[in-house]
């Protein structure tokens, strides 16, 4: 049974913008799938359709064999949005603890987990700050910590590392891979970095604009586990070039309907 199954999904926004057209995609248990494509091609939209945050205009999405809706209600996934979406009235620690609170964790367990997570995203010591006291990258890291905190079996991540410097980003990449391997979870990952996509994924879905469709699916056959060495393999560069060319073919200038 596929973890995510997307069949003939289209999404047209009011006003006529067609963000997605006839998307078919199947994601299996344990896969790490990256969505890559030009700005405005519908990556965020697709992710939100999978998460049942918006409804597709046509087509069907199943997650873990149930409807997307049911999956959402069963807490089957964790999500990181393109911007941090933190609650200003909660401190950093409380923002991270939010899903745990909702899942009914005890205070001590929560506290321990939050500390662990803040360590992971290198924000130990900022627990009592408020979101507006953090830099852009720090805010994004808080939201990553929040999504990871409850170990969801399916992770939906929308450019989670977009606001991070290269080094932090590389460390985060490595962390993410480690977590993914250890927990055997499935990840759907939106990025605009070709290198990141190749480094992380087991499969890369290249999208094109006008309107958003899948233009190419590229399996990534780099050995697991990956590390600093991976980035220097010739296969890495070959794959990167393949993705780059697929992107070029997809065109880039988008127009509204």
């Amino acid at each position: 049974m596929s973890v995510v199954e997307i069949q003939g999904v289209s999404k047209e926004f009011k006003g006529g913008t067609v963000a997605l057209q006839d998307i078919d995609l199947q994601i299996e248990q344990g896969e790490f799938v990256s969505l890559i494509g030009p700005s405005g091609c519908g990556k965020s939209t697709l992710l939100r359709v999978i998460g049942d945050l918006i409804e597709p205009s046509r087509g069907a999405v199943t997650v873990n064999g149930k409807s997307a809706r049911q999956a959402r209600q069963d807490h089957d996934y964790g999500i990181v949005f393109q911007d941090a979406v933190l609650y200003n009235w909660r401190t950093v620690a409380k923002n991270v603890a939010l899903p745990l609170e909702l899942a009914g964790w005890s205070r001590e367990r929560r506290q321990a987990r939050v500390e662990e997570m803040l360590d992971l995203v290198e924000l130990r010591g900022f627990a009592d700050h408020h979101p507006w006291q953090l830099s852009g990258g720090m805010q994004q890291r808080v939201s990553i910590a929040r999504a990871l905190s409850f170990d969801p079996a399916l992770l939906l991540m929308d450019e989670p590392f977009g606001a991070l410097d290269e080094m932090t980003r590389e460390r985060m990449n490595a962390e993410l891979l480690r977590i993914w391997e250890a927990s055997k979870s499935t990840v759907v990952f939106v990025t605009h970095s070709i290198a990141e996509a190749v480094f992380l994924s087991t499969r890369i879905v290249v999208m094109s604009v006008r309107p958003g469709r899948i233009s190419k699916v590229i399996p990534v056959d780099l050995a697991q586990p990956r590390g600093t060495a991976t980035r220097e393999e010739p296969r890495f560069f070959e794959l990167a070039t393949e993705v780059r060319e697929a992107l070029h073919l997809g065109g880039h200038v988008e127009v509204p309907a």
């Binding site: 945050l53 209600q73 807490h75 949005f81 979406v85 006291q133």
Partner: protein, 262 residues
């Protein structure tokens, strides 16, 4: 610590300055233009009336404040409850909104005889009813807006957690609505005082401010009437400041903006 006390009191300086300037200007104008005392008594005369009737004035003020506070509590709670219902159930909102507006549009002056007929005009309940009606509407309107002005993205996150309406309400809507609520509570705090006093004008215990103001004005005791108005102001401002302090406490997470203007 001492520095912060110093800063605190410095915050009050401009207000104090304005007060002194206003009183000075008032006194000066009244004296210079020979404004008749039944048009506007001079501050020094008001002060004398104030000083010589202190205990009576405070007692009347306290009486009226109790009415105002009772009405404030009733009106605000009713406003919040209905706002919650309206914000939650759109349909019910559409259905109830016009009647809420209607209730509010009934002028308080017209309300006074009716509350007098319903409740005993001499005890506090009839004035509380008027104050409550006055407080209800601002709270209702603002809380509805506050509950609805949650950022869509923040709702999406909650949706991803598949939590119930109640949780969304508690975790997202309430904190978002708080600043709106407090804006309304500030307005309501002063409206409550006005409501109580207006109610007293239409028949109230002689222990109350409104009845005293009316009596003194019609007996040409304008200095005393103004002293009573001053008492009303003192209670009103005190009430307002208490609400403002509660607001500071409840929304202390908010950034206090560092720079302002150009």
């Amino acid at each position: 610590m001492t520095a912060s006390i110093g800063r605190r009191s410095a915050e009050w300086l401009p207000a104090l300055g304005v007060l002194v300037a206003m009183i000075g200007l008032w006194e000066g104008l009244v004296k210079a233009l020979h404004v008749k005392r039944f048009l506007l008594p001079a501050p020094d005369a008001i002060w004398r009336a104030f000083a010589s009737n202190q205990s009576l004035l405070w007692r009347a003020g306290w009486w009226t404040f109790q009415e105002a506070f009772g009405g404030f509590a009733i009106g605000c709670i009713a406003g919040i409850l209905l706002a919650v219902v309206v914000a939650r159930f759109d349909l019910l909102g559409h259905a109830l909104m016009p009647y809420a507006i209607a209730a509010n549009a009934v002028p308080i002056v017209a309300f006074a005889p009716i509350t007098n007929a319903w409740f005993n005009p001499l005890d506090k309940s009839s004035k509380m009813a008027i104050a409550a009606v006055l407080c209800f509407f601002p709270v209702f309107v603002n809380v509805v807006r506050g509950l609805r002005s949650v950022k869509p993205q923040q709702l999406e996150l909650m949706r991803s957690y598949a939590v119930g309406e109640l949780t969304v309400f508690r975790l997202v809507r309430v904190p978002t609505a708080l600043p709106y609520l407090f804006t309304a509570l500030r307005v309501a705090s002063v409206l409550a005082m006005i409501g109580a006093i207006v109610g007293e004008y239409y028949g109230g215990s002689l222990d109350s401010l409104g009845a005293n103001i009316e009596q003194d004005a019609s007996l040409f005791q304008f200095e005393r009437a103004w002293a009573e108005i001053v008492i009303a102001c003192i209670f009103g401002i005190g009430f307002y400041l208490a609400v403002a302090a509660a607001e500071r406490f409840a929304t202390r997470w908010q950034p206090r903006i560092e720079t302002s203007g150009s």
